[in-house]
Homo-oligomer: 396 residues x 2
DNA sequence: CTGAAAGCGCTTACAG
DNA sequence: CTGAAAGCGCTTACAG
């Protein structure tokens, strides 16, 4: 293995100079630079990044924790994240919890042991109150709340839920079914209170902001006096459950005439509808929630409420870089970090897309003030599975 | 930061002993081990993997190069690969070429600079003859041939193509359309000869074994005297192209009554068929090639020819471990490695699933003898989009 | 079974 | 602008 020392000897300079040339920083005279470059070429020198990372105490690796990369939404997010991180000189390490049957804590340990520079946390996990803050390494949460010291980025699900509900209300539906994730994810969201789950006491650390979609959706329908039921999917990692949920919706509520469901479940609902001879959208309307490409494959183009995956990924990457920089420079203790959060005036100006539609007071899902939290607007894409013909702007 | 030295001091031992305890190898007396463990706990010691990796010259990172993780097939493969690698103590680095607009060479550079221990190559790239062999670092190819020094793993596409064609032949189709990938990927496959592409001379380095699917499919149909056409997708990374290809199939060949296409294109074909009032499978049969979950979402359950993603992933991971071990122990030169390949008697016994159906002589797609190459059988899953009612075993 | 010591290949103040 | 030297936190022969 030819190393810097060899290059230095060949060029008749010190390793410091070689280092400066390799990294292109610092001042090196042209003649020196040329001599070094020639020596590098001659010896076919390849810098050893392992050594470099070790001296700098950086890996340039960010782990993205997701339930499963098989799921089209997380595949999409991972793709966008890889791009967003790459642009910032960071590589992406796949950390899925369901594909690998691996606990989140294993990945957190890697972070602790400095095998990664940071973690983007986008999977479900319940830990005691100070678990996340005590890690004291760069972590950014996606679509969840992990405590005041952990910045988070998520879609504006209140808006998403309202949009979906409005679309139904405006077209005069009579019985709506929502297919959604496990309600257990919602529990600690209620008022951010501590709750008891078996013998474990859990503080409001694992709040799951997407509950806002559910709450906003339900409230909008209730205000319009439209009957509504919820069907639960146990795990988003098992494809089969989406199909079962779709089946259950039709079996349990034969008179349903509107469904909002995650893309995959929505696609299966179309199959159920076709099988049962229900006409879409005249007899039954379907909205896909999340808006991945699956919504386009379902035999009929689905109307969908979509997350802006690219914007989410950019925000996550940006926050991650901030966290990593904060770590390498100040090296603040967990306590300091927590204090900093309190004094921060919420999301950075210019970063937070202005709320196109402000949600009414909704204490159950509100984050505490001062938390670095970025909300990304959602949007709606009309397909052939709904009847709304008006302007999108009227859906507010 | 508390390091090994601190632990050693606290426990009154040398760092060597601490190292032994941390890694659980070597012989350490119980009392020593206890003392060290206590000291580690007391000081809240976290081993620094960066330092560890540096001394060992290992990162435990494997890059998986795919066109895009958004594509359901590659998402599926990535999920399985992550599991298979994780079981072997290897982490997965996402390296997509389309999501990031990143050349393969960037990832190869990371490999050279030892930012990763190895690369699994599953995306298209054309390089001069000795490009891959000259890298002399662990590389395993998926579904492609990168030269004799690079082991490869892929599905038995000959078998897959034959299965699909038989299914059509047996049900008496009259006009078949195949939607498939860019034919440019096929060019160097023809006889493994060197060809000229513009001014660049390309040796048979980038052979693309999936062409065998195409060849076997075409040949089987020709033997049965069934008219056949090919529609080309430019890039698998652009979702929209699948839809366009589906549309084009119906427009160009209005009398088609059988389609085989990648999952995504097949799903769009179903939409086209529904839109045009073509009944599936009575009037039109569809086979999805690859068999991801998309085949289940298309409004009707699609019959599909599927790759055994888990088996592929296991084989890839196994080969990767072999490559990495070979690297750390022997440190052979590229020339030696090449010689080794020649003398190796093909795939390891017990690793190669016995070919359930031997392809007839097919020189155009045959690998050279002695190349480490593993073929994973494909299978067929009957859905509602084909008419075959017989036993699967009769499709040979 | 344990310890002293060299070494992994870079980066980075610090002198000059 | 350049060089000598310390240091990053481990692992690993090598003595004992």
């Amino acid at each position: 293995m030819v190393g810097m020392r060899d290059v230095a000897r060949e060029a008749g300079v010190s390793t410091s100079t070689v280092s400066l040339v390799v990294n292109g920083n610092g001042y090196v005279s042209d003649s020196m630079a040329r001599r070094v470059s020639q020596a590098m070429q001659q010896l076919n020198y390849v810098p050893n990044e392992l050594a470099r990372n070790f001296s700098r105490n950086r890996t340039n690796l960010v782990g993205i924790i997701v339930p499963t990369i098989r799921h089209p939404f997380f595949a999409s997010l991972a793709a966008s994240l890889q791009r967003a991180l790459y642009e910032r000189q960071l590589r992406t390490v796949l950390c899925s919890t369901a594909d690998v049957d691996q606990d989140v804590s294993q990945y957190v340990d890697m972070l602790r042991r400095r095998a990664m520079d940071g973690i983007i946390m986008g999977a479900h996990a319940v830990y005691p109150a100070n678990y996340w803050s005590s890690i004291d390494r760069p972590i950014v949460a996606f679509d969840r709340y992990l405590g005041n010291s952990i910045p988070s980025v998520g879609s504006d699900h209140s808006q998403g839920g309202r949009l979906a509900a409005q679309l139904f209300v405006q077209t005069g539906v009579r019985h709506v079914v929502e297919i959604g994730g496990p309600r257990t994810h919602y529990q600690t969201a209620a008022g951010m209170q501590s709750i008891s789950l078996g013998s474990v006491r859990i503080a409001g650390q694992t709040t799951f902001p997407p509950i806002r979609y559910h709450l906003a959706f339900e409230r909008t329908l209730r205000q319009a006096g439209i009957p509504y039921n919820y069907i639960e999917i146990e795990s988003v990692a098992r494809m089969e459950e989406f199909r079962q949920a779709a089946h259950k919706a039709f079996e349990t509520y034969p008179d349903l005439d509107a469904i909002v469901a995650p893309d995959l479940a929505a696609a299966f609902c179309v199959q159920e509808a076709i099988g049962r001879g229900r006409a879409i959208p005249s007899d039954l309307q379907v909205i896909a929630y999340d808006g991945t490409y699956v919504a386009d494959l379902a035999g009929i183009k689905l109307t969908s409420v979509l997350q802006n995956v690219d914007a989410v990924a950019n925000a996550l990457a940006r926050q991650m870089v901030t966290e990593i920089q904060g770590q390498t420079s100040a090296e603040p203790t967990a306590e300091q970090a927590d204090k900093d959060d309190q004094s921060a005036e919420g999301p950075q100006p210019g970063m937070l897309p202005k709320p196109t539609s402000q949600a009414p007071a909704q204490p159950a899902a509100q984050l505490e003030p001062g938390v670095r939290n970025e909300l990304i607007p959602m949007s709606i894409k009309l397909g052939e599975s709904t009847r709304w013909q008006g302007r999108l702007e009227d859906l507010r």
